[in-house]
Symmetry: C2
Subunit: 206 residues, 2 copies
DNA sequence: CTTGACACGAGACGATCGTCTCATTATACG
DNA sequence: CGTATAATGAGACGATCGTCTCGTGTCAAG
């Protein structure tokens, strides 16, 4: 008789799960929404097994583009010792901007999948698990000037910047405003700089 | 023999289309994603007819919550003669905030539907038709102080505000940051005020 | 090596999707 | 009031979804 506490075949499970996510990410590159059967076939796995790891297609597609482009933000600020928060935040936004627009198709699918999960499955209170990459990036950009902000100002600033960073603003520019990518970048650059200045000013003031 | 140029039975077509959209909006209120058959039944229409008006379920769900809550923004600024843009923009954002969070379930479904359409159907270049209600509202809020902005500043400001108004920022607060609705409102209030001030300042300056 | 637990494959099942054809109803012109 | 035509209804079709069961392969403890 066997006697083990830890999840039984962790490596095997980890690999098949990873294979599925990788396959999904590969198939989503061109913007085409793959069927679960396609993903399973690409991962050399049966359809039933895919459903053993993900409750539905959306949950699978939702995790795919997360592993895709995950650059190390440290490299962004490595070479130069600028401590001007306005400059650093703007550069961070530019990097996130590129990442989002380069993977636009896959990101749209991921967004759609998580939104559907949350709205349709309101029975279970499971909020869709979205990975949060923007907050660490924002914190890294603001780190050198952290002491120049009052506590409350810093909290509001990093939250407000999170609205502008990331993929959701891309949806606004593309689908609602129908504005060019370069216009989007310009406006976001102006906005993040204005917000950083505002937070600095109110921290200096009173 | 008949001889008519205009689209043949405009009234009939208009009513069935409206019935479908209304039925969809009604069924989406509780956050459950209705099947096309459910919507068709609720609209007292056959499934085939529903597909004659909308290419797929997503296109139908995408238009549903748009007609739902469509208050007249004029009433917002009617009673008082304040011309302070900061104050008016903040009040406009509060109204939009209420609208979005009151119809959260339906709006999430609409967002998911339009995003899926755009990503999956990249073959046809049809960008998903999202109605734009926020820009008119922003313009109305800024109208009394329009002359105080330089041309370029005004354009950037109204675009930046469009990122914060509307439903996409709700997604950021809920799914990514997992922040309360009241926190969201506070941060957005701070951000829109800061942006208005920044646009005013740079318009005064040079 | 043996053996039991576990991961996987194969496939059936009903539900929904999107497309199609054909029959029926309703509209509006003459 | 007829009648041509447009709008609708009814239903079949294959594809995909999500769930289920049953059988096979495989890992690892003893």
């Amino acid at each position: 008789m066997a006697k083990r506490k830890p999840p039984e075949r962790a490596n095997q499970r980890y690999r098949t799960r990873k294979d599925l996510i990788d396959a999904a990410g590969r198939l989503m590159k061109n913007g085409h929404k793959p069927s679960l059967e396609e993903v399973a076939a690409a991962a050399r796995v049966s359809r039933a097994t895919a459903y053993r790891y993900f409750p539905n297609v959306e949950a699978l597609l939702a995790e795919a583009p997360l592993d895709a482009g995950a650059p190390d933000w440290d490299a962004l600020f490595a070479g130069d010792g600028s401590t001007d928060p306005e400059e650093r935040v703007d550069r961070a936004e530019a990097a996130m901007h590129r990442l989002v627009y380069d993977n636009e198709a896959a990101i749209r699918l991921m967004l759609s999948a998580t939104l559907a999960r949350a709205a349709g499955e309101n029975a279970d209170e499971t909020v869709p698990y979205r990975q949060n990459r923007r907050t660490p990036l924002i914190d890294a950009a603001l780190a050198p000037a952290r002491t120049r902000f009052k506590k409350g100002s810093y909290g509001r600033l990093r939250t407000a910047l999170a609205m502008i960073f990331g993929s959701e603003s891309m949806v606004v520019f593309r689908d609602v405003l129908r504005l060019d990518e370069t216009v989007a970048r310009d406006v976001k650059s102006w906005a993040v700089r204005a917000l950083v200045r505002a937070a600095l000013a109110e921290s200096r003031a009173r």
